[in-house]
Symmetry: C2
Subunit: 373 residues, 2 copies
Amino acid sequence: MAKPATRMPRAFEKNTLLNTPQTPKQDQAVVATKIPPARRGRATGRVTITDVAKAANVSPMTVSRSLKSPESVQQNLRDRITAVVQKLGYVPNQAASTLASSKSQVIGVIVPSLTNAVFIDTLSGIRDCLGAAGYQFLIGESGYSPAKERELIATYMAHAPDGFLLTGIEQQEASRVLLASNHIPAVRMYDLSKNVNDLTVGFSQKKAGYSVARHLIERGYRRPAFMAAQLDPRTMKRREGFRKGLKEAGLNPNLEILLPVPTTIELGAQLFTKILEQRPDCDAVFCCNDDLALGVLFECQRRGIQVPTQMAIIGFNDLPWAAQSIPAITTIITPRYDIGYVAAELLLKTLKGKPIDKARVDLGFELAIRGST
Amino acid sequence: MAKPATRMPRAFEKNTLLNTPQTPKQDQAVVATKIPPARRGRATGRVTITDVAKAANVSPMTVSRSLKSPESVQQNLRDRITAVVQKLGYVPNQAASTLASSKSQVIGVIVPSLTNAVFIDTLSGIRDCLGAAGYQFLIGESGYSPAKERELIATYMAHAPDGFLLTGIEQQEASRVLLASNHIPAVRMYDLSKNVNDLTVGFSQKKAGYSVARHLIERGYRRPAFMAAQLDPRTMKRREGFRKGLKEAGLNPNLEILLPVPTTIELGAQLFTKILEQRPDCDAVFCCNDDLALGVLFECQRRGIQVPTQMAIIGFNDLPWAAQSIPAITTIITPRYDIGYVAAELLLKTLKGKPIDKARVDLGFELAIRGST
DNA sequence: CTGAAAGCGCTTACAG
DNA sequence: CTGAAAGCGCTTACAG
């Protein structure tokens, strides 16, 4: 910590923000007309609800009501207030609102990774639902670590989020306590709780793994391998389902390669190489993510292995390249946008105190059969 | 708007947050020991700075100082306060802090798209720098629209962000005014302002395009095409540089296909097909993003076109598959993590009032020559 | 180095 | 339907 920041940092004054001609007239509506060169007292210089109230000749409370529940204010007053709000460019101060109401309009969202395109789609779903309702987001990356997840929850606490959206159902005890003792609701995504009253939105990871095994067996493959990096609980459940399917068919489920590092295309190629060294007669690979699968496909091309005749490849998630590669990659299509959207809906209902008809929402998955099997 | 939310929504009480045994003892440290079953007055029930002050037998101001500038508080008081903070599980109320200090510890970050992996890396850089300094982020997607960007800035205004990180240098007039009139500093990324006093961190998009042209020419290609979707200003500057390079070498720069839609692998294949229809003798394609380039590569495989002998492919950004595909794709490596990190550093300096030695930071780019040319 | 007072800009909880 | 008062939990700006 150096010197405390001054109100108008020197450097900022020196470096003009944007190189522009001054004060264009047509934009006045968006901007406070009252821009004081210096602040009065401790005020920020921003237009306040009191400024609006004075100009509209009503009390601040009426302005507040007019903004939050217009139907509770007389038409004529409302119109007058709306006009003044426009004219002065009033923007409510969220910090003051949060302090007074203890509602922050902020939702904490924690996903394992932002580099995994899967969760970006989920964020879009969340944003489309809760963003429309006026919420903002604190988005955190747990790096697949429950401890980091707990730290993020604790950090976000300072901002008093109204709710949380979390990934997976394996939170730390401390995370639960932190949320419960502050009465903050949370919806958990990408898996389904055994307790039907828990708020969870996802699909059965185990069934997804099982369906992959069934597909390979039906296609006649007999020596399939399982390849996983990023050994999060959901990946391990897929594996469980996959093994179950193989065992039921009397196949050996033990050709596996598991590595607790992020999945990448490059890693897919490397792990595939190891599998071939271990079991040259392997005839199929189930990859826990499509980037691994693409790496396997590239390695097959490099080695002249024919897909799918000599080697079958199945991925997971239907990332953009899976449907485009030559051959296209058979994969599990996961409802990742919907998971975000539906989880957000569930949280919104909870925040509004609306009844929840179904707390555990199974959105399913789909096996997309393509050229690689 | 339905009924106003009640403090403890019914649904939330019915659906227990997480299915757990109750009150584990080892987690007490993280949680307020004082969890009132009902709130007293308007209070939230959270531990406040006054609670800490009483328990430590000092004034609230001393607690505040002990937390924000420990060196200004006597060692023994500080220790006492730290212990109480721990014991009570005190978490400062950010809303109160923001209201009193008009510093929110929040930064607005606006990128064109989150589905483009490019900007995810930039966010990582921003987080690694400003996150360490205790800032949180409001992250917005402008969809490459300056109007949407302005709306986001306006929306974020309610949260009184301390600064903004924006993408590109083509903001709307209204955006500039909004920031300037509220004295909010902004650093702009991915391009360089002509004004050396503007805070910009990026590289010369035009030079990058030019260097691609030079490379193709040196390799002996004579009928190169330019393929772009997502026609943002930076893409158009690359095009400008590319055309300049071709013209200097006496080549025809007019084999172009431009489409104002998001780039995808699939689109790359489609646009390439159109290029071939238009000019079957085309011998190279410069794609404005690596996903287009991968689509072109797949289409070449489909058609039996040899890369690079019959067709050269150059992409942009060095996305994960570019180095892995068969053949690997020649591309421009852009410093996207660094752009975020350095822009964040610059903003941090500005916020702290530290002197800025260089307001315009050119981080350059690198041409990675691979098998596809 | 420490503290008492006032204030940030809203909304709650009452009154009318 | 509208408003005056009080308070949310911090930090600023003074004093000592």
